[in-house]
Structure formats: C-alpha cells, structure tokens
Symmetry: C2
Subunit: 131 residues, 2 copies
C-alpha cells in the first residue's frame, strides 16, 4: 500500500502542445500492471481547455469545482458543474476545459492500452470554444 | 458521451454486510467493456468503515474531505486527509473509513476482473479500528 500525502508530489503545468491556456496537473495514480488505470486531478484556468483528443479505452471525468465545458465532435458544447460525471467512450473525439470566466477542476480517469492513454489531435479554436 | 448531472442519480446507503456504520455511495462510473474501470464517491460517517477486503486489480482512493483511517493487514492504522492518494495493490488485505470523530469522503477507483471488483472479508472489530 502506497500513501501519497497531498503535499508530497508537486503540481505540474500541462504542456502547450496538448492544451490551450494555463492548466495544472496533480497526480493521483498510475497503477502498475496488471492494473491499467490512470488518474489525475486537472485544474483549468478560465478559458483553458484540452486539444481535441480521444482515448483508446474511454475516459471518465468527475468535476470537483468551478464551471466547465465539454464537447463531443458533432454535438453542442455543454456546461459541466461540480458533481457531474462524464463518460467518454473509446475513440470519441472530444475536448474539455473551463468556462470563459470560471476556473474548473476535474478528476480524469482513463485506462492505458499498449502504453497509450490518449490520441492527441488539433487545437480547439476560439470559434469552436465559444460556439 | 454520457453526462450524468450531479442531481440525476440518487445516493444509496452501503449494505451492512460489507460496512460498519453509516456509509453513503454515489456512482461515478461503471465503464462498459472493453474498459473495466469502476469509480464511486463514498461518504463515511464518523466511526464508519469498510470490512476487511482486497481487490483483484488493486484500488486507488482519493480523499475529498474530512479525516479518515486506513490499514493494511500487518501494518499500523494510518490517518488520511483531503488530497491524499492511496494505491492498494492487487490482493492486499485492507480496510478504510472515517476517523472516530470526523466524517470522511473519498473517491474509490478500481478495475473489474471477471465480474469482480473486490473480495469482501470479515468485519473490522472496534479493537482493530481503535488500535
């Protein structure tokens, strides 16, 4: 059993390659084989969001605080609030992030398949974000 | 993509078969195959705790609020606080719950293997809990 105290692992900043705006990441778990679950706490500044992406075994988001946005390709942008849970099926192209005037923090849970948790795609444009 | 709003799924009470004291459960995800991740938010009243148990593919706990306790068989009872993350390896016999005078809420994440998320064992006695 490994206990990681809240103050024992530093917050990191997400890379600009896959995110727009200021996004902070705190580790939760990267389970060793035969387990494959990965979890992170992700904190988006107002207006910040992921690139479009998808996950080989899907993704679950659990909103902790703030006001956020999420969009599946071909559907409308939707608002997400604390306590909301989102299941994104394997291969569904989507993005998520904060609302324009509110920060948003969620837990992201996904499973790794053949060394990969996500396929990262193009940036979410301002027009897409504000639609 | 499935969005479950915070007010769309009712809280349930955990069964007395596997828990001591009042424990409430809110669903997060039960991902369909080929995914296998399961997640719940679990809220323990002061003094409430799981039975001893283990998980075929391990478990991750992420403490959201309150003050809790956790013990791996053969080790001392340890305190857990908000922001703490615990990784419990496959097969490790353990229990977790609230402190005697504090509620505790955590997110529990585990993977299902052959239809099973946990092997439930005997009750945690008051002597074990207060050790």
């Amino acid at each position: 059993m490994d206990i990681h105290k809240a103050n024992s692992r530093a917050t990191s900043f997400a890379g600009a390659e896959y995110f727009t705006g200021s996004v902070m990441i705190d580790p939760i778990v990267s389970a060793p084989e035969p387990a494959r679950v990965r979890a992170l706490r992700v904190s988006f500044s107002p207006g910040a969001r992921t690139n479009w992406h998808n996950h080989p075994l899907g993704q679950t988001l659990y909103v902790i605080s703030g006001v956020g946005r999420i969009q599946k390709l071909g559907e409308a942008v939707q608002e997400i609030l604390p306590g909301d849970t989102i299941w994104i099926a394997p291969g569904e192209k989507h993005w998520h992030g904060a609302a324009p005037d509110h920060a948003m923090c969620h837990i992201a849970i996904q499973e790794e398949l053949e060394g990969k948790q996500a396929d990262w795609l193009e940036r979410v444009t301002d027009e897409e974000y504000q639609a």
